[in-house]
């Protein structure tokens, strides 16, 4: 089963149809997805600004991550669930949308950046925890994170515009 076939199957399920045709639930899920951006991306930005040496400078890096991290992660969980529901409501069109594919690519890259920071860069944190201007590698992690998450958000917004949409019916069955 190809991914496209899987999406076609998903689109025919009762839940997908109900969500797609709902008057209130779909807009509400979309609103949750957009507003949770403040919790997830907003706090990510605050943490990244600290890594960049551009904000929250009076607070140690470890404290910023420890205290804001759980809220940021809670936001991420809501983003993933609401985002999955939005995909579930419109699977084929979304799967074929170029901005959706770009968004997933940037999402993967942003995740890799977090993993690299978590498993390697942050190990030396005791040495720069209090620095107002952390070492280059740390600032780089913060800057790359800001750029990648901004790209994720912008591509997400663009999914709604169908400039480059392929017409699903014109594709081979």
């Amino acid at each position: 089963m190809s991914p496209l076939e899987a999406c076609r199957w998903l689109e025919g399920t009762r839940g997908s149809i109900a969500l797609h045709e709902s008057i209130w639930v779909y807009p509400i899920v979309e609103s949750v997805h957009v507003l949770t951006l403040c919790l997830f991306l907003g706090l990510t930005v605050m943490i990244d600004l600290r890594l960049l040496g551009a904000g929250l400078l009076e607070t140690p890096v470890s404290k910023v991550i420890r205290r804001l991290g759980p809220w940021m992660l809670a936001g991420f969980a809501v983003m993933v669930v609401s985002g999955a529901l939005l995909f579930y409501a419109v699977p084929v069109k979304t799967y074929l949308n170029i901005f959706f594919r770009l968004k997933m690519t940037f999402l993967l890259m942003a995740g890799l950046n977090v993993a690299v920071f978590h498993f390697t860069t942050s190990r030396t944190m005791p040495r720069w925890d209090l620095d107002r201007k952390p070492p280059l590698r740390v600032r780089l992690a913060g800057g790359v994170s800001l750029l990648l998450w901004a790209a994720v958000a912008v591509c997400g917004r663009m999914i709604a515009y169908n400039w480059f949409d392929k017409i699903p019916t014109a594709l081979p069955r």
Binding site: E30, C38, L41, G42, V45, R67, L68, V154, R157
Partner: protein, 158 residues
């Protein structure tokens, strides 16, 4: 000049015309609006979480107020600028849209509340403000901003 006449004038201005004539200008301005939302949301959340005694804690509120102020002010300016451009492109439609008026009223209330009650509470000596009051201020601020955001999203539906 009535409000409707003013809105019509905005919509027919070269800015409104230009944005409507372009295929990608509206989405690009929307994206700026969205990215600024993340920054303003983050700075509002950091201060309010601390007023609630969560996040970086009540004791950090005054420090966080100063720390986040440039980011709050900068992203607010970006929000207002990009929001105004979006507004000009469809001002007459917005005149008849309830969500738009709800958003603008809540925005005004949020800004006044932030500049007065929230500011004084965040900058006050934590020993002299009850935890109950701090929490109420944090909660009211979050609720007001939530209405701004939710009504803003709702403008896009219909």
């Amino acid at each position: 000049m009535s409000v409707l006449a003013l809105f019509t004038w905005f919509e027919q201005s070269w800015i409104g015309e230009g944005i409507r004539a372009s295929r990608w200008l509206f989405p690009v301005i929307e994206s700026v609006h969205l990215l600024a939302l993340a920054v303003i949301g983050g700075s509002v959340l950091v201060v309010n979480l601390s007023l609630l005694g969560l996040g970086l804690g009540r004791r950090s509120a005054a420090e966080l107020w100063h720390d986040t102020w440039p980011w709050f002010a900068g992203s607010l300016a970006l929000m207002l600028g990009s929001g105004f451009l979006l507004f000009t492109s469809e001002a007459v439609k917005l005149y008849y849209h309830e969500a738009f008026w709800v958003k603008m009223s809540a925005l005004l209330a949020s800004l006044v509340f932030t500049a007065t009650v929230q500011r004084r509470t965040a900058l006050a000596d934590p020993e002299r403000v009850t935890a109950w009051w701090s929490r109420t201020v944090g909660l009211v601020s979050l609720l007001l901003w939530f209405v701004v955001g939710a009504a803003g999203r709702w403008i896009g539906f219909s």
